[in-house]
Symmetry: C2
């Protein structure tokens, strides 16, 4: 009864995927709206997912020699303008500060939409010799882009992210860094978030403003739309030249260093929701779930049940899991629905008869599978079940990805495939912007990436018939 | 030789304390200046101190039931204006956003100088019943106050901090929370940062804009000036009424909840520098030092030395310490001066003869004390020495505090004591603003706090001669 009432609250994803998504964000208490359009409040349960993401990613960054810093949030307009492509891309969506207290500022400042220019200004101060390189910096912060439309996690005017900024003595080192960070992102998405990815390079049209090359990890959502989940950019020495950053090399000559930047954001949480969620709500990857295991005592008024449940909670907490026990007076049906809604990967049920038999029941969120477990084996069983949850989630998402990649050999075929099946449409491509724009206009798809694992589907670009240079993925993206 | 050169780079604190402070911030690579006045760059070594502070404090907050959230960085002007005292205090130092992209905004937004108003708007959405209380939230973020003057860590236009915001069903609960957080701050300052504090209540003049009561932890710097290191505010239901936040109590009636907020910032790092630093540079409290132990091999070209030093580093790293080994080709003198400058609490020296004798030498940063240690006892010896560093730092700071608190029984005596000795001048006080202003005008001191441990020095206010209500501390503050 209670369960039905709870489940009623979210729209079925088959009925209206967008509404299902918004319902989950609200009902699982991930997010709230503020009075400024497009600026959201990250509530404790949503923010805790981000904290777990941060902890793991930050460890990966530090293990590869990166250091955290904090730069100012404001950029003087003149500083933003130093790199031409960069300012053209970002100026239209900057929020501008024009007054400090009651005084009009002589120069206006934008709230950082990204921080390449700030890092470059600092790099100029601290890089003088080849001994000062590489500089491998990262910062965790929020950035602001004055977008017209907004959607929880997917498109905020202000969003939380990390931005890595590095400087290297040689092009080779910088290119290696760009690839390394792309691989770290892919590793993280797959092995932590259970989200399979396609690694590839962006077209010139889709690359970051000011970058020479942008690499991306692209994911497929449950509705077969694409999500760009992280990017890693190689800048060459363009910014270094614009900002006059030089160092004395081992050869005693002045050189410009080579630069990268790379970032992921809370948009990944949107990806988690749309990759793994179902009609009962969230399904969270065990490694980032704020609550990994919920312990529910059954018939908790009966002698020994509550004590038994507490003992299970304490053992699992001691074993390092994030555990919650719910001994509130809500019904069992309500509780099950509540923690399903919240995507808790594993539920432990224990009632009087379980405890009599020295056992409890583990229920997996992702597939509902139940396992009866001897109490003495609890910790090992929970470890195993959480690993199975991750694996099951990954495999389901991988099937969704693999089953929705379609080769196409003409623009019309690409258009029809997208319309009828969605997903990624893969074709060959001549490399010309015109063909890319035509695909957008006539088939409604943007280029997602030229995958690192290139394929030979045919000799020609299906759009113009000229010789093909790359295989490429197209899709409808969030 | 190298050491002397290094030490020359910082001004002696006795010659010019302010210059000494700036030198340390720059030479220890804690901070860099940006192109906007008063907005600083937290460099890796400075930011790492903050990360260690965050990790420990965040654990203390969570252990007492607080949850982290993230609110927007912008506040609509109309929202800021909802609480009268609050807006009067903060509006003059707000930075105002007036354009989003190329469009002039209908209403201007300020970058948060603090977030009471944003939290209240959210609390109104999520608090309905007594079952929704308490709400105990915290956020780690940066805030912006358009100050005229600036100084690294002590006064930034943008600074990093945490702000806790809580709502409670009763006044008693909220007052308890205010005290609990004050105690957590005091505990943290003393047991983590080795900074003794005086806990007290601010006068009405000095309290937070919109608060009923502000509690503070006040520290004394090496130059005998005061630093307000953290504050905890009790708001009563003033904001709740202004924002129309109500809940249905157990009595089925509507009530306004009672509110607190509390915060500490990167200003604490300024406090660390000015409490513990010396003419050789930083002295960092072991619990927040980015490098707790530096291992320096002596005559590292000799057989076995480098291997021996690596083994020490690896053992200490495995034992959970933050360790660095420096086997660069700089001289031993340079290295000693460098890690003294950076305030590393403990230096481990090991040369060929040490290793032959299965020993190494531990050198404490705070007092230069050397201890010869058997290699087999390394981990235990390091633990003991780091505890002694903390203890030595605390005791020295405590002596500095205790020896510079002077009772005064007239305004003239207070003025003279401050001029000749500095420190905290303690007097009785009638509680009137007039007397407080007179102390400021004539003796150049602001009220620091009415200490929680009240004393009876005399029956009357030494400024006006009327009956005294409180004992109070005065000082010159950063």
């Amino acid at each position: 009864m209670a369960k039905e009432k709870k489940v009623e609250q979210i729209t079925d994803m088959e009925v209206d995927f967008a509404q299902w998504y918004t319902d989950v964000c609200k009902k699982a208490e991930l997010i709230d709206y503020s009075s400024i359009k497009g600026m959201f409040i990250y509530r404790p349960y949503g923010y805790a997912i981000w904290e777990n993401i941060q902890k793991i990613l930050d460890g990966m960054f530090k293990a590869t020699g990166h250091e955290n810093v904090a730069m100012p949030m404001l950029i003087p307009e003149s500083l933003l303008q130093k790199e031409k492509d960069h300012v053209e891309g970002f100026a239209p969506e900057c929020a501008w500060v024009t007054y400090g207290g009651s005084e009009k500022l002589e120069e206006r400042y934008c709230i950082r939409p990204t921080s390449e220019t700030l890092f470059c200004e600092h790099f100029k101060n601290i890089i003088h010799s080849h001994r000062d390189l590489p500089k491998k910096y990262n910062q965790w912060c929020s950035v602001l882009r004055w977008e017209k439309t907004s959607r929880p996690f997917l498109r905020h005017r202000e969003f939380l992210w990390q931005e890595g900024h590095t400087m290297h003595a040689t092009e080779e080192d910088a290119r290696q860094e760009t690839q390394q960070m792309l691989n770290i992102y892919a590793d993280f998405m797959e092995n932590v978030l259970a989200m399979p990815v396609i690694k590839g390079r962006k077209t010139d049209k889709e690359k970051f403003n000011g970058a020479e090359e942008t690499y991306t990890v692209e994911c497929m959502m449950h509705d077969h739309k694409a999500l760009q989940a992280g990017t890693s950019h190689y800048f060459g020495d363009g910014f270094a030249k614009a900002f006059d950053i030089t160092f004395t090399g081992k050869d005693n000559q002045l050189h410009n260093p080579h630069q990268t930047s790379w970032g992921v954001s809370t948009r990944m949480i949107g990806g988690i929701i749309m990759t793994h969620g179902d009609n009962n709500g969230l399904v969270l990857p065990p490694k980032v779930a704020p609550i990994q295991v919920v312990v529910l005592p059954i018939a908790q008024h009966k002698a020994g049940v509550l004590e038994g449940a507490c003992a299970l909670r304490d053992r699992l907490t001691a074993a390092g899991y994030r555990v919650k026990m719910d001994d509130s007076d809500q019904s069992m049906g309500w509780k099950c629905a509540e923690y399903e809604m919240k995507g808790v990967p594993l539920r432990v049920e224990c009632g009087p008869r379980d405890l009599e038999n020295d056992q409890c029941v583990l229920v997996r969120r992702n597939d509902g599978e139940k396992t009866v477990v001897k109490l003495e084996d609890l910790e090992a069983a929970v470890e195993e079940q959480l690993a199975l949850v991750h694996q099951g989630m990954y495999e389901k998402a991988k099937r969704n990805l693999d089953e929705h990649i379609y080769p196409a050999f003409s623009l019309e075929e690409a258009r029809q495939l997208q319309q009828e099946k969605g997903g990624f449409i893969k074709t060959m491509w001549c490399g010309d912007l015109e063909c890319e724009l035509k695909m957008k206009d006539e088939a409604g798809m943007s280029s997602r990436c030229m995958p690192l694992e290139q394929e030979h589907l045919s000799d020609v670009c299906p759009i113009c018939g000229k010789p093909a240079k790359h295989s490429i993925y197209w899709g409808v993206a969030y």
